[in-house]
């Protein structure tokens, strides 16, 4: 049974705008799923529908087997949510804000746990500060501490590192890694591809309220991944010899570097033939490196492709 099971969820707002157009998505226990998508794709709406902030127009969602509408108590008990906006009561002390959330989720007071969460997020020294006295990054940490205060089994991180400095981003990744080891299921939305690449097991791409694909990160990169072979030449070339015209080659402007593009999933990469042809032409190679296409390149390609479909 998936930890989060989303079946045919549609959401139409009162104005008629359809934010989700029949979303199906299954998230397994203990995995980290990154939802990628441009602004306005429906990422936040989807999370809001799961967490009970917005009501889906149709479709069903279960968390841990519990329907989020009919059995909302059992379902929400399992869920922690770190919202995208920094929403904090300004006059409350950090520690009280975190205790409040734990109580709200029906859990008895546990100061040892709160202390460990605050320490883990480097907030312990700030525990008696009012939230309005904190910097933006610190406020973001408070939101995370609040979400963790009731020991959720599923954690939603909605754009967790938007506008956050490098240090906090690293800290956050560490926290996420720790949660993964505890078996917590994590769904994060982001438009920082590197974040998805660094953390996620699977990647879902959402655009205009539809899930375009969900796939294991590695296989996604491998399947769609083109590689580039970059060859530095011993002697610059003025132009590409005619014998090389069959290959997908680009010569750099100064003539010192050849770039060859190939598909790792193709039956033949053509590298062996290329090297043989080069040496037959008397072109000497000084150095070689290969580079995998990043998720970002894939993502941009995917969204553009579907953008053309829609147009």
């Amino acid at each position: 049974m998936p930890m989060v099971d989303i079946q045919n969820v549609r959401k139409q707002y009162a104005g008629g705008f359809e934010a989700l157009k029949g979303v199906n998505l299954q998230i397994e226990e203990g995995e980290i799923l990154a939802l990628l998508g441009p602004n306005g794709a429906g990422k936040t709406t989807l999370i809001s529908a799961i967490c009970g902030i917005t009501m889906p127009t149709s479709g069903t969602i279960t968390v841990g087997g519990f329907d989020v509408v009919k059995n909302f108590r059992q379902a929400r008990d399992l869920i922690g949510l770190v919202p995208q906006e920094i929403n904090l009561e300004p006059f409350t002390k950090v520690i009280d804000a975190v205790r409040f959330t734990r109580g709200l989720f029906g859990k008895p007071k546990d100061d040892a746990l709160i202390e460990s969460i605050l320490k883990r997020l480097s907030l312990w020294d700030k525990r008696d500060n009012r939230t309005m006295e904190l910097s933006g990054g610190m406020k973001r940490r408070v939101l995370i501490a609040k979400a963790l205060s009731h020991e959720p089994r599923v954690l939603f991180l909605d754009e967790p590192t938007a506008g956050v400095d490098v240090e906090l981003r690293r800290d956050m990744w560490d926290v996420v890694e720790g949660l993964r080891q505890d078996g917590v299921t994590i769904i994060l939305t982001t438009h920082y591809i590197e974040e998805a690449e660094a953390m996620a097991d699977r990647i879902g791409v959402i655009r205009q309220g539809e899930i375009l694909l969900v796939e294991k990160k590695d296989s996604l990169i491998a399947r769609m991944g083109e590689k580039e072979l970059i060859m530095e030449l011993a002697d610059p070339l003025a132009a590409l010899p005619g014998a090389l015209s069959d290959f997908d080659l680009v010569l750099s402007e100064d003539g010192t570097c050849l770039t060859y593009r190939y598909d790792t999933s193709a039956e033949r990469t053509g590298i062996a033939t290329l090297i043989a042809t080069l040496s037959a032409q008397g072109i000497a190679i000084a150095d070689m490196s290969s580079r995998q296409k990043s998720l970002e390149d894939i993502f941009v390609g995917l969204v553009d492709e579907h953008g053309e479909d829609a147009a």
């Binding site: 707002y13 009162a14 967490c51 009970g52 902030i53 917005t54 009501m55 909302f72 108590r73 059992q74 379902a75 929400r76 008990d77 869920i79 949510l81 919202p83 906006e85 929403n87 904090l88 009561e89 300004p90 006059f91 409350t92 009280d96 205790r99 409040f100 959330t101 734990r102 109580g103 709200l104 989720f105 029906g106 859990k107 008895p108 609040k146």
Partner: protein, 253 residues
Amino acid sequence: MNLYAIGAMYRSEMSRFFRTIMQSFISPVISTSLYFVVFGTAIGSRIDQVDGVSYGAFIVPGLIMLAVMGQATSNASFGVFFPKFTGTIYELLSAPVNFLEIVIGFVGAAATKALFIGAVILMTSFFFVDITIAHPLAMLAFLLLTCLSFALLGFIIGIWAKNFEQVQLVPMLVITPLVFLGGSFYSISMLPPVWQVTSRFNPVVYLVSGFRWSFFDQADVPVGLSLMAIAGFTGGCMVVIWWIFKTGWRIRS
């Protein structure tokens, strides 16, 4: 019942009250004292007695009602509006709590604060006038019901309001006039006949009258009618709140 959640909401609301304890406490004491000076002493010295009660004492129940209704409404409306304003309402919506628990937490806290202020004003009045309370239990019951029902009203206003102006609007434009015209400072029988009839449509008249009855054993309207009025008002507010949560009006899109 998620009792921990009710406790968390209640404590969080009360902590705002205690953070501003000076203004919560001092301002009703000062304004009540001013009322006693102006109405009780300056004007009251020219009014002999109302229904056999000295004017200074006569206005005490009205003064308490005036403050309690205003405080219960504004505390509850602000308490609910503030999370909407700061965005922290997401937490209430995504927590395993139902509407009844949210209402108990927020309305309970607002009613507690109003009750506290009502008690402070009553204590203050002992310094100015001699009062004996004829029906202490009924007095307490009226006070509690008023705190509760106006906190419920405030809760509705807080959800309805889209900005701070609207939060202030209803207490200023509706409640204050109704309370002033509701016999807080006079007996309805002192009015010309036309206004006596008109006053019957003012719900506050029934509350003030019933509350005053519990002090002096005399009332403008029968005490049973007062009880029915406040019970009806409380019930009406509860129905509206139930509808709000059922439809998600202005809270859950």
